[in-house]
């Protein structure tokens, strides 16, 4: 069976990403496939701050949960997809076309979701 690490490595190559990782909802890193310029702990720490803040404010506002969050900045983009018990985090540079890579990202998210179900 393909491991989480393999799925991330494949995704990183096929979707031309700067990096991707899987982290638990509390920010604990499960697996990473990142560029040398990125550190897993830093990316997961910052994205978990963002996801936990968003979850909290959405719940308090009565809007429910979120399935994905995309952040565009001047030098890069970050996409966070909820895959059940954890998040798939994807980063690209400012030229990366997340819309074009979406089929690969969704496919990886589906595989990761299946894997997490089997492991439970």
């Amino acid at each position: 069976m393909t491991s989480i690490q393999d799925i991330l490595e494949d995704l990183r190559v096929t979707a031309s990403l700067k990096g991707c990782l899987v982290m638990m909802h509390d920010g604990i890193v499960v697996a990473t496939a990142l560029d040398r310029s990125l550190e897993g702990d830093v990316v997961s720490g910052l994205t978990s701050f963002l996801t936990s803040t968003l979850r909290r404010v959405l719940t308090e506002s009565g809007l429910g949960g979120f399935t994905s969050l995309t952040v565009h900045s001047t030098h890069g983009k970050v996409l966070m997809v909820d895959i059940g018990t954890s998040y798939l985090v994807v980063t690209t540079n400012q030229f990366g076309r997340l819309d074009l890579s979406m089929p690969e990202i969704q496919e990886a998210a589906l595989q990761l979701r299946r894997l997490s179900r089997i492991s439970l």
């Binding site: 968003l54 959405l58 900045s73």
Partner: protein, 370 residues
């Protein structure tokens, strides 16, 4: 001497970077981008142009600068793809190469590449699609019936080979609507609707296919009619979206009007414009404590903090998907514009509208300051 020159250039760059942040305008961004271009740092030029375009999306100079820098980058990519193609040809590499040429605007090369790919891989829909897109672009630009008809035949081939290609179905329907072939367009839209029942774009096109002006005769004669008259029978669907009105003398009323126009777009539930502690809202919003406003403020602040710490520059826009539909946020400095819409609403288009709103309002406030 060289060291002295380099120091001088770096000093100039530093000055221009500071100027861009202090006084953002298309010309300051262009000046900075050109210095990078002269130093053959095309990545930086594209970055500067992108930064400028996120604030001034309608600036022609910035678009030209970006195009020029991108051309240099694309040429390098094309060279690499050509080498890969010579080693082992595959439809994927052909498609990538054609996409690069399409981005460069070299339609002749796109046609050549796509035709070569079709000869070698006749059952691959990708090449037909790229070729049809290039011809469609030519048709919309020149209204040449030959390009239009070739595009329609190409797209028909794509939807025959890939029956679930909704993008091609919608593209085909749209061009047919624009020339007045509403019945044919309706047929393709029904197919698209079956595949994506809640897609807003398909619904808008279906409405247009029912209410638009209908022409009689064959499809060929309709395209010839458009070429002869020099205008389309039906207007573009994109023309329905609110048009930005950016002028220095227009004050806060324009922002209000623009928000009202945004809320009128099909699928949009509410929209807001926040500057500092003040917020202007339109749509289904109870009061200042509305959950949506709170989410927007928190997301804009948290995303800006994370972007800075991740070293990916300034936060410009975000989209959140969830049980509530989509929330789109666009920010620059202390200005934030956001909206909430239902599932299936074209988020990219709405984000572009929000960008226009933010950039337009900043432009206006600068004009008023002067």
């Amino acid at each position: 001497m060289k060291l002295f020159q380099r120091l001088k250039i770096w000093k100039e760059l530093k000055r221009l970077e500071a100027k861009v942040h202090e006084n953002p305008s298309p010309s300051t961004y262009v000046d900075l981008g050109q210095v990078y271009l002269n130093m053959e740092m095309t990545d930086h030029t594209v970055r500067v142009a992108d930064e400028g375009l996120s604030l001034f999306p309608n600036s022609e100079e910035l678009r030209k600068l970006r195009k020029f820098a991108q051309k240099a980058q694309l040429n390098a990519k094309i060279k690499d793809l050509r080498v890969r193609l010579n080693k082992s040809a595959s439809p994927k590499i052909y498609k990538e190469l054609a996409d690069q040429y399409l981005e460069l605007g070299d339609f002749g090369a796109v046609q050549g590449i796509a035709e070569e790919c079709i000869r070698r891989f006749p059952e691959d829909a990708g090449a037909y699609f790229v070729l049809a897109k290039a011809r469609l672009t030519n048709f919309y630009r020149d209204m040449s019936s030959r390009d239009g008809l070739d595009a329609v035949r190409g797209l028909q081939r794509v939807v025959d080979l890939e029956r679930k290609n909704t993008k091609a179905l919608k593209m085909l329907a749209e061009v047919l609507i624009r020339v007045g072939a509403l019945d044919d367009a309706n047929e393709y839209l029904q197919r698209a609707k079956k595949l994506m029942p809640s897609d807003r774009e398909t619904e808008s096109l279906l409405r247009e296919a029912q209410n638009g002006k209908r022409m009689q005769g064959s499809i060929d004669s309709m395209f010839h009619h458009v070429e002869e008259r020099g205008t389309m029978v039906n207007a573009s669907i994109a023309a329905d979206k609110p048009q930005p009105r950016v002028a220095a003398e227009e004050a806060i009323g324009t922002v209000r009007d623009y928000l009202a126009q945004l809320v009128e777009v099909d699928g949009v539930i509410k929209a807001c414009y926040i500057k500092g502690s003040k917020a202007m809202v339109k749509g289904d919003i109870r009061d200042g404590n509305d959950g949506f406003l709170r989410v927007v403020r928190v997301v804009a602040k948290a995303a800006q903090r994370v972007s800075r710490r991740m070293d990916i520059g300034n936060f410009s826009k975000a989209s959140i998907d969830g049980e509530f539909g989509h929330i789109c946020v666009c920010s620059f400095g202390d200005v934030v514009a956001a909206l909430q819409c239902e599932f299936g609403t074209p988020v990219d288009r709405l984000l572009a509208d929000l960008q226009e709103l933010v950039a337009g309002s900043l432009y206006m406030s600068r004009g008023a300051e002067r």
